[in-house]
Structures are given as C-alpha cells and as structure tokens.
Symmetry: C2
Subunit: 637 residues, 2 copies
C-alpha cells in the first residue's frame, strides 16, 4: 500500500507539471523536487504557496501521503477563516481550511525543531514604495509579515529567493526588467484570455474572436493593508443579506425613491415595473444576487469607505481573476528581483464562485432542460469577461444563451404559468449584463422586455427590487440614522456596515448643501445613474448646487451628495494598448458577493473574490471603461 501511495504521489506531481501549460507555475518547483526524491524524506524541506483552487488536490496529496511524509498546509496571507475542514498534522502548528485563499505547503523532516512556516526571513523589511514625506506620494506602507500568528521556533531551509534579497526601490527598478515584465505580461494576457474588444476595430464588440486586445492592466499588484482587506471581505455577506432584506420592503423602496422618480425618467420606469410587481403581489421565492461592493481607502482617516454597491451587472469577475493569476505569475518569475512574494496576493475565485451561484440558482429552478439567459448589450467590448462566466457554466452542465433586450422583446414568450420561453427553451435564470443604464433602453421594446422577464417565474439576477436596492439614493437612505436597524438585527453587523459608510446626504439638507458650496472639493455629487463618468467634482459641484438653488426645481432629487474620499496616490505602471505608462494612480477595491436563497433556505451567502481598479490619479471616475483605468490585483501589507 505504501508503494502504491508513493506512486500515486509521483503521478500527481507529474500531473501538476502538466498543469503549468495553463500558467500555474507555482507547482513546478514542488513537482520537480518531490518527484525527484524517491525517498519521502531524502530532501528535507520544501514549501510552496498555492492557489485555493488546488486546495483539494493538496488535501488529497496529504491523505495519500499519510504517515509516510509530513506536510504542513498553511495560509500565507490571510488568517484561516471559517474552517470547513481542518487537518492537524506534522509538527502540530498548522491547519488547513479549504476556504482559505492561499496556502503554504511544507514538507519537512520529522524533527520538531526543523519546522517551516510562512514568515521565513526576518530581513524581509523596508518599503517597496518608499514612503515619502509629503502626500500625494505617501502611498501605502509595505509592512513586514505578521508572524505572531504562529508560535514556536521558526526556520526555513528552502524558500523563495525573493525573501532573501533586499526589496528594491520602485523608482529604481531596472528599465530592462520592466520591459521584460511588460512583454511577459502581454504574452500571458494573449494566451490566457485576459482580453477585451479593441475599440479601434469595428466588429470587436459584436463578434468574439476578432479585434481583440489585452485588457488594460496594472503591471504589478497594488499594496493594500491586510486588515482593510479582511474588513472588506467580512462586509460582503452582510451586504448580501442587507440587499435581500431591503428588496423585500417594497414600500421603503418606493417611498425612498419617490422624489427621485419625479426627476429621473430611468428610475421612474424601474419604479413603475416595481409597482406593477407589488400590485400583482409577485413573490420571488428564489433570489439570486451577484453584487460587487466598491471601496476606497481614505488616506487621512485610514478608513475603508464604500463608494457604491453594484447589484446589477457587476462586471470583471472573469477578467479580475485573470489579473490575479497574471500578477502571481509575474511575481513568481520576477519577485526575487523586486523583493515581492506572489503568496501575498490573495487568491481570486470570483469567476468560479459566480458561475457556481448561477448554476446553483439554475439547479433550484429545477428544470434540467432550462437555460441561463444572459441579457447583453448590442455591442459589448467586455464580452470576454462574460464569456469566462458562461464557459464555466458549462462545467455545471448549464447552457447559456445571449440575448439583447430588443431580441428578448421579439423572441421571448411568457406562458400563463409564468414560464419564460426563448427559442422554445425555458429560461431558468435571467442574468443581466445590460439594462442598468438609460441608454440600454432606446425604445419601448426594451422596457417591454424588462417587464416581461420581471413578470416571469425565471430567477432574475437581479430582480427589479434588487436592482433598486442598489441605487445611490437607497445607499444614502441606508446611511441615515436608524435605517439599517429596520433591516438587520445583528448589532455587530450593523456596526460593521456603518463603519464603511461615507458621509451621504440628500440635497434637501441645506446645511450640507451650504457646506458643499463653500468647500466643494470635499464633496462628490452623484446622479442617479450607473456606469461611471457622471459624477460631479470640484467647482462643478458648487456651480451645479447654485444653479439648482436658483432654479428651485426638483432636479435636486436626481442627485445625492457624498463625502469625497481621498485615497493614497502611488506611482504605478499601467499598461494599455501594449504600452506601459508610469503614472500616479489611485485604487478602488471591489469585493464580490453572491447570495442565493430559496424561500427560507439561504443556499449561498459568500464573499467571492475581488477586483482592484487602478486609475491615473487625475481622473475622477472609477470605471475602467470610462477613463484611463486598469484592472489590478492587491498585494497584502
């Protein structure tokens, strides 16, 4: 049996070697070293940091390994969260949870003294981005690793070279090295589908496979404090629940948006559909939310503050994961030169988890022949982000079809029992990747389509209530005193949410309006529209507020005022159209959340990976599509 186990282990490593075709280089060293060593303990120490998607494989290796060899699985970055399965082994200081994002796996000699852990090198200190004396270059500090989590004497005999070299100055990175990294990054994007449609190529938004260009990306991950990262992750399931609760309070939604309705035609149409559903007493028993909550880290207060909560068409789950993989690959290759360690980039399984949520919703609908219908725009240069999700859907045997709102109007049919039919197939889930902006509804046809779907028994992601619960006006209402308490019971959860709320006000608050006219640089005016690029900053805030006061119309209800957040500005390498730009940039962290319930049963309420968006600091908007912004990942400090 022992021989068998060893053979299996060797074969698994052989297999791991093969995986690298797909770029998961991290395993190479392990595969080579361990396959080479015929005897279990002929080589003393190895360790490796692995993506969460390999947790199960590593787990299997441990089991295979049994008593022969000792392994230690360890989370390098984050503390081990809600542990689903914990295996005690080796020298008694490590545990494995299959829910952690990254792992450190260590094989070692069975002497208790010679153990290994994540923090191998005490000299690993000093900033990557040197902290300057004055803003805007203060940046995020590069902290030393926290080794306090692990007790006992620690030493490592083999590790990542990066950790034994001094960390280089960001400004001093060799130009040749940058060029090599940029080239490797560009190659990687092309081979791994980190692509978008090229706006310079006509058909690129209509047809896959033509006019592709790499997605705009940051060359290296952006430093982000681990504590704030954990905070953002913890918030995801709470926001998931909040959206669900708010969505059930039709009266709250209608009342809060009543004034907005008068001045914003788009919100008004959404509210009309919502009213019809209330009149019909339509119940959504299966509710699916795929959200992304966006945050910025305010440099002055060091607070993680929410920018907005997207409850419809949360994008970049697909490409965001790939950027994480890309950055890990680059740090595996060049980390030694930079003093950076790929294990500090949290794993990102947003695509997988979103696909899983869609598949689980489809399962709840309980019709094996039904399809997932993706509602798409007529032109979509970000289609590959969507295709990644749908490709994964196939894993679950879930077929998806893509339709525009106009196509849905002409091709979809609603049966008397509520079944939504498209091309003769039942629709189990409607997944909106369009329909969030007024421009998505150029005619009555699109509104008819939206209503048709809402009336059906298909699971809507999102339903009209979920959509409305994500509007800026509702965000502002929820920030008012005692409003969260209407929807949530858990005081700790409420406190956590409140802690991330920035100042949010309606324009009827004359004190705030006055203050915003006096100090417009401290505020952002946000209209009730999605998609980025519509916010008002600086002197325009003042001018708009004065104009609205003068006109005395109700147009003020179309806006909210928000505290302006000043994130740290850091020098960054941004790559767009094959060209690398060095510029000062700010970043916005989006954390994905998936929520699925069927009546009283909550099937899924998870945090699901993340998206960092980094933009040249002179631009005000967070949308990657809107300005010169790039997809990014984070490096925990």
């Amino acid at each position: 049996m022992r021989t068998h186990r060893r053979e299996a282990l060797d074969l698994l490593f052989h297999f791991l070697g093969v995986i690298f075709r797909d770029g998961h280089r991290i395993f190479t060293k392990m595969a080579e070293d361990l396959s080479a060593s015929a005897s279990p303990i002929s080589k003393p120490d190895y360790w490796i940091i692995a993506d969460s998607r390999y947790v199960s494989l590593l787990h299997a290796i441990y089991i295979l390994n049994g008593a022969d060899r000792r392994w230690s699985f360890r989370s390098p970055g984050t503390a081990i969260g809600k542990s689903q399965k914990s295996v005690q082994m080796g020298v008694g200081h490590s545990s494995l949870s299959s829910s952690v994002d990254s792992l450190c796996i260590t094989a070692f000699k069975p002497q208790p003294k010679t153990s290994a852990l994540y923090n191998p090198s005490p000299q690993r200190q000093g900033p990557l981005f040197p902290s300057h004396k004055h803003p805007p270059f203060a940046g995020l500090k590069f902290a030393t690793f926290n080794s306090g989590r692990v007790a006992g004497k620690m030493e490592i005999q083999k590790g990542i070279a990066a950790l034994q070299k001094p960390i280089v100055d960001f400004h001093g990175i060799d130009e040749d090295l940058i060029q090599k990294m940029v080239y490797d990054a560009l190659v990687w994007t092309s081979l791994h589908g980190l692509v978008v449609g090229d706006r310079n190529v006509q058909r690129s938004g209509k047809l896959p496979g033509v006019g592709m260009v790499h997605a705009p990306i940051a060359l290296l991950p952006t430093l982000f404090p681990e504590s704030h990262w954990k905070q953002a992750c913890e918030l995801a399931p709470i926001f998931n629940e909040l959206v669900d609760r708010v969505s059930l309070d039709g009266k709250f939604l209608q009342q809060s948006l009543a004034r907005t309705k008068k001045v914003d035609a788009f919100t008004s149409r959404l509210l009309d559909i919502h009213s019809k559903m209330l009149e019909m007493n339509k119940k959504e028993e299966i509710r699916l939310g795929l959200h992304r909550s966006d945050y910025m880290l305010d440099e002055k207060t060091k607070l993680l503050l929410q920018i907005e909560l997207n409850t419809i068409s949360s994008s970049f789950a697909g490409l965001g994961c790939l950027v994480t993989d890309l950055h890990r690959m680059l740090l595996n290759d060049y980390g030694a030169n930079l003093g950076l360690d790929s294990g500090r980039i949290p794993g990102n399984t947003a695509t997988l988890q979103f696909a899983e949520a869609l598949a689980k919703a489809w399962t709840e609908y309980n019709n094996p022949r039904a399809v997932v219908m993706v509602v798409v725009q007529t032109e979509e240069r970000n289609m590959y982000d969507q295709h990644w999700l749908c490709t994964l859907g196939i894993t679950y045997n879930v077929r998806s079809i893509r339709k525009t709102l106009a196509e849905i109007d002409s091709e979809c049919q609603l049966l008397p029992d509520g079944t939504l039919l498209v091309d003769g197939q039942t629709v189990a889930v409607v997944y909106f990747r369009a329909g969030y902006a007024p421009t998505d509804y150029p005619s009555e046809s699109e509104w008819r389509a939206r209503l048709l779907m809402e009336q059906s028994s298909a699971i809507k992601c999102p339903s009209i209530s979920y959509h409305l619960a994500g509007t800026k006006k509702i965000q502002q209402e929820l920030a008012k005193p005692n409003v969260l308490e209407r929807f949530l019971e858990n005081k700790e959860d409420i406190a956590k949410l409140r802690k991330c709320f920035a100042g949010l006000w309606s324009l009827v608050d004359s004190d705030i309006t006055k203050k915003a006219i006096d100090e417009p640089e401290l505020f952002v005016m946000k209209p009730q529209r999605e998609g980025g690029g519509n916010n008002i900053y600086g002197d325009d805030v003042k001018e708009t507020l004065l104009r609205l006061q003068k006109e005395g119309s109700e147009e003020d209800a179309a806006y909210i005022l928000m505290q302006r957040i000043f994130p740290a500005v850091s020098p960054t390498f941004l790559i767009r159209d094959g060209i690398c730009h060095k510029d000062h940039a700010i970043s916005e962290l989006g954390v994905y959340g998936a929520y699925l319930r069927n009546k009283e049963k909550v099937i899924m309420n998870d945090q699901c990976g993340y998206l960092m968006r980094t933009k040249v600091s002179s631009s005000n908007e967070g949308g990657v599509a809107a300005g010169f912004a790039v997809l990014d990942s984070i490096y925990l400090t």
Copy 2:
C-alpha cells in the same frame, strides 16, 4: 485508511471540477457522478475519455481507489502503443499505458458480466460525410468502430449521448447549430489563446497583446483513416533518425546540393556555412531536431505520401494542440447532434513534447544559468504559436529570449571556448523560428549571425546540417534507389519510409521532364525554397520546363519534380476573421517528431502530436499563412 482514500478521491474530483475553467469539460460528468456517489459501488457504470495529460491523475485515482472500486482505463481510438506503465485491474480486459493519447476510464460493478468498452452502441453507423458516387465528393468514409480488439460480452449503461443518436448528414446540419458552434468556437479561441496577429493591425506582428484575431480554423475535425494515422505516427521516429544520420554525412549533403548551389543563392550560402563547419571539423555532440513531416492521402492509390519534411522552424505545434482541444470541446457539446464522438480525435501534446525536448536539450548543455534563444523574424503574426512553447519552457525553469538575426549579429558574442553570449547570458539552445527563407537574410548582418551561432557550442535547433537535410533536393536524393540504405540498417524502417515517398525526380531526368511537359497536371515543380507559395502547378509546369530547356541554363537545378498527389476533396466549414465559409477542401497531415541525442546516447526520439491543415481545394499550397487554409485536427475513421 479507507475513509481517507475516499476523501482524497472526492477532493480530486472537486479539483477536476476546477480544471474545467480551462475547458477540459470531459471530466465534469465523472467528477459530478462520482463525487455524488458516497459509496464506491452505489453507481454501477461510468466511463470517460480523457486526454493523455490526465493519465497520471487517473492513474493516481486508481491507486487511491485501490481495492474498493474497480476502474478500467482504455484507449478509445488508437491501440495502446509502446506501453511504459501498464496496470492490470478490474475485470481483466484493460490496461493503461501512460503513453497513449486518449483513455477511456470505466468504473463498474465487480461482476464480470457487466463490463464496459469503447464500442458501446451497435447503431453507431453510417457516414457523417455521405460518400457520393463521384469525386470530388467521395470524401473519407466514416467507418464504424472496431470492436474486435476487446473480447467478451459488452454492454454499457451510461455513455455519451452522441452514441445513441443517429448520425446526421453533413449537408443537413441545421444552420442554427452551425451558428452556435461557430460562436462557441470563436469564444473558445479567444479565451484559450488560439490566436494570431491580425494582418490588418499594424503592430500585431511586433507586439504581443495587440491586434489579435482567432487563428483560421476548421469548425470540425477532418475524417482520417486510423490506419494511415498510425502509419504517419510510426514514421516520425524513423525520419528523426534519418535526418540525424544524413546530417553526419557532410560529403553527401555537399555533393547532392552541388548543382543546386550554382543556381540557388540561398542554398549556396547555407552550403558555405556548412563547408566552413566541415573545414573546422566542428562536431555537434548534442543534436536536437524538432521536425514536422507533412503528408497527403492520395485518393486514387489510398497511399499516405510525404509532401515534405520540415527540419527548421516547424510551426503550429502550439496552436495545433489548441485546435485539437477546441474540436474535442465542440464534440463534447454538440457531438450528440452530429453523431460524432470526441474520443475519436487523437490527443495532441505537440507543445508539451516540443517544450520538453527544448528543456531536455537545455539540461544536456548543463549550465543552469543559460537560456534558450529563439531566433525570430522582425515581424511575426504567428508569435503566439511560439509563445506557447516558450511559456511551457518556464515549467522546466528554462528561460527563453527572442532575438532577430540582425539583433544577434549586433548583440551576440562568441567566446574563445565557443560559448555564445547574449546580453551577458550564455545561450544553451538556439531555436530557429526564422532563418529558413531568403527574405530572412536581407543583408550580410543576418548571415554573420547565422555563422556566429553555427560556430558556437550552443545546441542549434537545427544545426546547418539538419537544415540542409530537410531541403527538397535531399528529399529527392533520398528517394533514389539504394540511397536510404546508406543511412539506415533496419530493412523494415527503410521499407516504411519508401512506402511514403511520392515520385521525386531531378530535372536532369529527360524522360520525366518530357512526361511532365506532356501531362503537367500530374506533377508539381518545387523550387529549393521554404515557406509555401512557391510551387508550380498545371500549365505553368509545362511552360517553365519548356523555358528552361530553351534557355539551356543550369537553372533547372533549382527545382525538383514531384508526383502530384490528389487528396480527397470534402465539404468543410472553414472559419476565418470570424466568418464561417462552407467550401470544398483538401487536407495535409503534419506529424511532429523530436529527436535529441548527446554523443551516443539517444535521449529522445518521439512522435509528438500532429497538425492537420485544411485548405480550400482550389488553392494549391499547403501553407496556412500562404492562402486560405485553416488549422484543423483529425477524426479517426
């Protein structure tokens, strides 16, 4: 222990589920079914066809599974070749070789009666491409599966749906189905790096990540007889050896090419370098060949005939594998509608094996800091094919750098001991993806670079001798009576080679020249140049021959005459620039071979996957880049 093993098995399946991100859907069913069944034999029968890259994983699963569950691994298509590791298990009729291309894995109840095999459905008959009465539509016939290999009563309880439905008429495939498949194919190419530079985008040949378009592809694999496929595979190691032997006979190369030298300036320069090496008495102790032998199946004679042997810059190993994966994916999804089974597409690991060969050569050079230098053209729209190989190189910890011949001339340095240096790094292997065509040498600079590399101790892939051994003139010389016997001893090998030789003649043969003038449609005139697009067909053969006779110059030495091969013409769907064309097409099968030896030790002599190229039948050339041709895979009949 049993619990542990079961847990490990479940975890492996969980892992397999994750793999599907990369499109290897084939495991889904297995992962789902088996993970779901808690008890080892609660579900009786499953089977699955898997890619060779998963052999080791399946093997590991078997070992994990031990005595609890019985598994049968079976090759669906090809017979099991040179078995490296064979495991007998289950009901004693199956074996597993880790060298086979595809596998069928079966779990079954331990009753000998209820077994499973590859040929599950007797109704699986009839042609996909109906055989018409007249050429050019005779096509390749779609044979029923050969079940003779497996003895015993066979039945299947679970299988691929495809096998239980009638096979549709190719002409009758539903237009909607075609459109869906084309769309899915385009998405897949984009997400999986099956891309090339778009000739309409200026920078697309210079910079990765910009101006990408899907590679031209066939929508479905082309039918190919299994016997001819096996024949082509068997030839690969023999040709590998032949090239090596010929390369060592400097006199043979010089003499055979003496007349060509006088009229072909390019060959002349190559021969000059070769002469210099002979004068220097330069020995290449480590010799690496990455070849591709191209064949067509002559419709009249049913013979597999060699078109040419590429010993330099054999392209499409990277993209060809992806086309195989794409076609398997499409047949997994749509095979049921087409009556086609993805398991009949042989696995293709050309990329992996070529990368392995490069890495092994690098290992033989024995300098861990040395690099592989890829010699590239200044513009290369097929760069992603090359990047796939180099990306894989990283798996083996082998770094590669890309240089043009001009860059090599200005940046490379030859040390007195023969070490080739580039950017201060030692070059272990020079891998040519340029240098095969006269246009690659616009000035003396490029020739200097070629000579410099040849003089060095770096391993050249190919060396000048290997390069010359692949010329058309040498192909024609080798086809002469008793020439093969100069290089090979094994009579069977010689007979196998000779069987695939088409008629090949020099123009000094006046009988043949006369015949070619009388019946030019039976011949092709091939100049001593690579790259496709230069061959002479039809009336042009006659005119050129008459002109050469009239002029009486020695220009005739620049050509060889070759028997024209008439492959079957089949209706095919070809996709280019996002558009699917239905046309009549002919196909050319290329089989890759890798050869590595160090002095007397042959380290590698393998067949390495394949490339099918399919082109609209009106075009005469085989080059995908040259005309309207597409990358394709094969479906064994």
